[in-house]
């Protein structure tokens, strides 16, 4: 019993320490981004661009396919569910609102957490194990400025853009299926979608994606910096990073949605 309580206590302390570390990482990254140039140690735009390419542009194909599929799936389920009530035409509104407010940001967040979050943890963890992080420090390069800050800024720029692309492709997926079922053209479907959507719907998804971006970066970078135990440790941290990122994204999404629908 004593051991169990001690174990729970240790876990709680570790959790608090991790949250504190992640928060400091966020503050320090933003501090370097905004104040770095005054210390002659600015966050390089080239690094941000490089990260944005790796996180965003290269994720466009897979993100597009998945959002298109989710849109089509929603159309399928929606038409089937609304059929008994004769309200199939309402599927346009349902898909437009649910994709822009919810699904696009969530799907993109999960894809990027799995694809880029794991890569970030593995890269930083490997660098730590091979003393590259120490090498940065002795050269006089702050690892947070050099590694974390560009990833954070790139992620905060790219995830909203991917979400907007996901919005469009999700609706397009719904349009392609619905156009066959309801005898309407894809263009008509899309026009009706844009009519029913308000800027607030898109803003909800985009603002969620910024929160998801911060979660992915903080979890993946902090897990990378804390790697110990060689290649096995890198693997363990990478798995942990992906699982935690996706879990936090889903919980954050639930909390976000709760407050936005009040």
């Amino acid at each position: 019993m004593k051991k169990a309580i001690s174990h729970v206590g240790k876990l709680s302390l570790n959790a608090i320490e991790e949250v504190g570390y992640a928060f400091m990482l966020l503050v320090e990254s933003l501090e370097w981004f905004f104040l770095g140039k005054f210390r002659n140690q600015s966050v390089r735009l080239a690094h941000i661009f490089h990260e944005a390419m790796s996180i965003g542009v290269k994720a466009v194909p897979i993100a597009s396919i998945l959002c298109f599929s989710v849109g089509m799936m929603l159309a399928l389920q929606g038409l089937e569910t609304l059929k008994p009530y004769g309200a199939q035409s309402q599927v346009v509104t349902g898909i437009a609102v649910s994709v822009t407010r919810e699904f696009s940001a969530l799907i993109i967040g999960i894809i990027v957490a799995g694809r880029s979050g794991s890569a970030i943890t593995a890269r930083i963890g490997t660098m730590k194990e091979s003393q590259e992080i120490d090498a940065l420090r002795v050269i006089g390069i702050n690892p947070v400025r050099y590694l974390a800050a560009p990833i954070l800024i790139a992620m905060m720029l790219v995830l909203p853009l991917l979400t907007v692309i996901g919005d469009f492709l999700g609706m397009l997926g719904g349009a392609v299926y619905t156009s066959f079922e309801l005898n309407m053209t894809v263009a008509t479907y899309m026009n009706r979608s844009f009519e029913v959507l308000s800027i607030n719907d898109v803003a909800q998804g985009v603002s969620k994606s910024i929160v998801f971006a911060i979660i992915i970066v903080l979890v993946s970078v902090s897990n990378g910096f804390k790697v110990t135990g060689g290649s096995e440790g890198v693997g363990r941290s990478t798995t942990r990073s992906v699982v935690l990122s996706i879990s936090y994204i889903i919980v954050a999404d639930m909390i976000f949605t709760f407050f936005l629908t009040r």
């Binding site: 490997t126 660098m127 120490d134 090498a135 420090r137 050269i139 006089g140 390069i141």
Partner: protein, 285 residues
């Protein structure tokens, strides 16, 4: 100069004007475990100081404190007359421009070519144009006999080439202090001897003060002006090569003659380790 006699007799520490590294009463812990115990030594300008000791003696840990990567429990580490344990981040940033470090495994950045690795300190600390940086990195790669390899990635290099590339990166800013962790480890004797020659050439040509951490006796005796011998986190001796060779200290003698350490066995402790209980029968914490 801080002599072996001063260390052994714990005499007051007098800093000569040409002292570039001055470690005083350095004590470090890992959790509750004492790792380094009252470390005192100095390194003079233009001197090669070898920190020698067996595995687990604390020499690599000591290097981390000399580099300012860790903060000690107590004591001071002064580089070029300034105590780095009390420095602000900005002061440390300025200090690092005068330090070069070659890590044991090279610690080259895997996503960069050899040239990009060597140019990184210049890119971060200077406003030189690309051509000048390219020429400077080629000059340093020439010094370490890596001319023509600038476009290769670290994964394409042999062990010796990685160490030489790391050395080129360490000296690109012409630092006053150079730290080299285990230069000979994992290399064949010929390549290791080449690296030793290179370290001596660097000291002579650039008047650098060099700290080398190693457990290779041949290499240590060849390059050292003075040797600090560490054992179980304590300095056994700090002296010239001849003083170390002729030391009457049994543990130094064992280290030089590659005799394995044979500690007396504490029966109670041994039984405790086997059974997971201490001798009074209660479980250890």
């Amino acid at each position: 100069m801080n002599t072996a006699a001063q260390v052994e007799n714990n005499l007051p520490h007098q800093v000569a004007p040409d002292v570039v590294i001055d470690v005083k009463n350095l004590v470090t812990h890992y959790d509750d475990k004492l790792i380094l115990d009252d470390i005192n030594f100095t390194v003079n300008k233009g001197e090669i100081m070898v920190i020698m000791g067996g595995s687990g003696s604390g020499k690599s840990t000591l290097l981390r404190f000399l580099l300012g990567l860790n903060t000690p429990t107590s004591g001071t580490v002064s580089l070029l007359g300034k105590d780095i344990t009390q420095m602000s981040a900005q002061e440390m940033y300025e200090m690092r421009k005068q330090m070069g470090v070659a890590f044991q495994g090279g610690a080259l950045f895997g996503s960069m070519t050899v040239a990009e690795n060597t140019q990184l300190p210049l890119r971060e600390h200077t406003r030189l144009d690309e051509n000048t940086m390219r020429i400077m990195s080629r000059m340093k790669l020439e010094v370490v006999n890596l001319a023509g390899f600038e476009d290769l990635m670290p994964a394409q290099l042999s062990g010796g080439m990685i160490k030489r590339a790391a050395l080129a990166r360490a000296i690109i800013m012409d630092p006053k202090l150079l730290f080299f962790d285990e230069p000979s480890a994992g290399l064949d004797p010929v390549v290791a001897a080449e690296l030793d020659e290179l370290i001596l050439r660097l000291r002579d040509a650039m008047n650098m003060s060099i700290v080398v951490v190693t457990h290779e006796l041949d290499s240590a005796f060849k390059i050292a002006d003075r040797i600090t011998v560490l054992d179980r986190g304590k300095i056994l001796m700090c002296g010239t090569v001849d003083e170390v060779r002729n030391s009457g200290n049994e543990r130094i003698h064992n280290l030089l003659n590659r005799k394995p350490r044979q500690d007396a066995v504490d029966v109670d402790e041994y039984m405790g380790r086997l059974t997971g209980r201490n001798i009074k029968g209660s479980l250890p914490d």
